[in-house]
């Protein structure tokens, strides 16, 4: 499976430093986006640590035999990688005062053999644009999303809520984080977007869809344009976008596995 990848991150126009981090490893089919927070100067440490831990875990790990929690072995391994990132952040944070209280969101996608495994914690998101349209693949672990699911507020109200920045789950907060997993079958031409809330709070889903459509075949162009759009709309937060496009036919993807 050949992948065409674009990635971009921006500090935005308000924040002094960029606490977002991303990983794009097309050769592994692994893509991760993290939005760090907290600590004296440690949000960026947490997000970076998460990314490194996940990459190491996937690179050296062996998927469990058989399905777990109803998910494919690869998806289960991605979930374990995120759990190990959580432990790594807690271990680092407990070691010194400078890093105390740091945490991060995470959204990770691992593509292989026609399937994308998805894992997320917090309000960083994954989207897909395929033959069936444009769809969000993750539900934020945030207070407003919980309120929407419970029917207390509607989607429209949630976009205006002052409580949008309140998370219910994040890495680095508790030793037993619940990682949400998902799976998606992918085909040539499908586009996937991973991003932080610095993008999704400034650019609507309809605009995300339009940009992916317009920059089909140019994932880097899509990322750059999305970042620019978020900054033009105020850029109050760090902004990160990773766009992955599945190339070629399934047949060529099948053969490319033997070339590695």
């Amino acid at each position: 499976m050949r992948l065409k990848v674009g990635a971009a991150t921006s500090v935005g126009r308000v924040r002094p430093i960029n606490e977002d981090a991303f990983l794009a490893r097309p050769e592994l089919g692994l893509f991760v986006v993290c939005d760090g927070m907290g600590g004296a100067a440690a949000g960026e440490v947490a997000s970076q640590l998460a990314i490194e831990t996940i990459a190491a875990h996937i690179n050296g790990g062996t998927p469990p035999a058989g399905t777990q929690r109803g998910f494919q072995p690869r998806t289960a391994l991605l979930g374990q990688a995120v759990e190990s990132a959580n432990r790594a952040i807690i271990a680092r944070a407990s070691g010194d005062a400078e890093h105390a209280g740091m945490g991060t969101t995470v959204v990770g996608m691992w593509l292989a053999d026609g399937m994308a495994s998805i894992a997320h914690v917090g309000d960083s998101r994954a989207y897909v644009s395929n033959q069936e349209g444009f769809e969000g693949l993750t539900a934020d672990h945030s207070l407003v999303e919980a309120q929407v699911q419970a029917g207390l507020i509607d989607r429209e109200q949630s976009l205006k809520s002052e409580q949008q920045n309140i998370l219910l789950r994040a890495l680095g907060r508790a030793p037993d984080v619940l990682v949400e997993l998902g799976e998606l079958l992918i085909a040539a031409g499908d586009q996937m977007l991973l991003c932080t809330d610095g993008l999704t709070r400034m650019v609507t889903d309809a605009e995300l869809e339009a940009v992916l459509q317009r920059f089909r075949g140019d994932p880097q162009g899509a990322c750059d344009h999305l970042i620019e759009q978020a900054n033009n709309n105020g850029g109050p937060d760090n902004i990160t976008a990773v766009v992955v496009e599945v190339q070629g036919t399934r047949l060529s993807g099948f053969f490319s596995r033997f070339k590695r």
């Binding site: 927070m37 907290g38 494919q72 053999d113 693949l137 419970a150 207390l152 920045n165 949400e180 998902g182």
Partner: protein, 248 residues
């Protein structure tokens, strides 16, 4: 921030801040403020902000809503008003002690670089209506869009009608079930020229879909090119197997 203090027999049970969102009061667990008492209606009353005031509205409850001992259908709340719902009292106060709204907000929700995180205790307070009676589901208040197999009531089954594979029947327990020669495939194809992954059956909402992944797939004799929804009784042909799909 104004708040409602829930009391029973002069004991303070809990309190609930009244912000920009309405506070629903009732016996059912999906209320923001749950009062689990038979004298309280499922959806009894609500308190919401209107302009600069806070309004109490009775939702046609069986036993009524009272403010300072008078029955009300709609009432603009004043400092110190005592609302009676069943056998419980709710005291409305505009101030949380001596703290101003901003200070209280800061204390309740520590700011962490713009993004705030609620620990379990604070989540319980804020989501008191959501998790009452099912505390283990605090974290599961967010229903994943990507279906989890156990979350759905319907069971998909594949019966092997013809062909050579490991089992005669497969329950589609996973989110994605692979059909192929690969070790990771749940429905294993046998033979030299069989594809590693011929097709995948994926759970989508209440139902299932089949997608060819590297092999020829047909359903009821029709060739499948993209994703196809499966209907109970569908006959699937893939990699030399004939499979019958059942949704029950």
């Amino acid at each position: 921030m104004p708040k409602l203090i829930l009391r029973f027999d002069d004991r303070e049970l809990t309190e609930c801040a009244v912000g920009t969102h309405p506070v629903s009061i009732g016996r059912l667990p999906d209320n923001l403020l749950v009062i689990d008492n038979p004298a309280v209606s499922g959806r009894h009353a609500r308190v919401y902000k209107e302009g600069n005031h806070y309004v109490l509205e009775d939702l046609k409850s069986t036993n009524g809503t009272f403010v300072n001992d008078k029955p009300v259908a709609r009432h603009t709340l004043l400092e110190g008003d005592i609302i009676v719902v069943g056998k419980h009292n709710l005291v409305f106060t505009l101030k949380g002690g001596e703290q101003t709204e901003d200070h209280k907000q800061e204390e309740a929700l520590p700011e962490i670089g713009g993004t705030m995180f609620l620990d379990t205790e604070k989540q319980k307070n804020l989501l008191s209506g959501l998790d009452r009676g099912r505390p283990s589901q605090v974290y599961d208040a967010v229903v994943p869009k990507t279906a989890i197999p156990t979350a759905q009531g319907r069971i998909g089954t594949i019966k092997v009608v013809a062909g050579n594979t490991g089992q005669s029947e497969y329950v589609l327990a996973a989110v994605t079930t692979m059909i192929g020669k690969a070790d990771t495939a749940q429905i294993r194809l046998k033979g030299w020229f069989k594809p590693q992954v011929a097709a995948a059956i994926a759970r989508k909402g209440e139902g299932f879909t089949i997608t060819p992944m590297g092999g020829k797939v047909s359903v009821n004799g029709e060739k499948v090119s993209g994703r196809r929804e499966l209907i109970s009784g569908d006959m699937i042909e893939v990699g030399g197997l004939t499979l019958e799909f059942t949704l029950s």
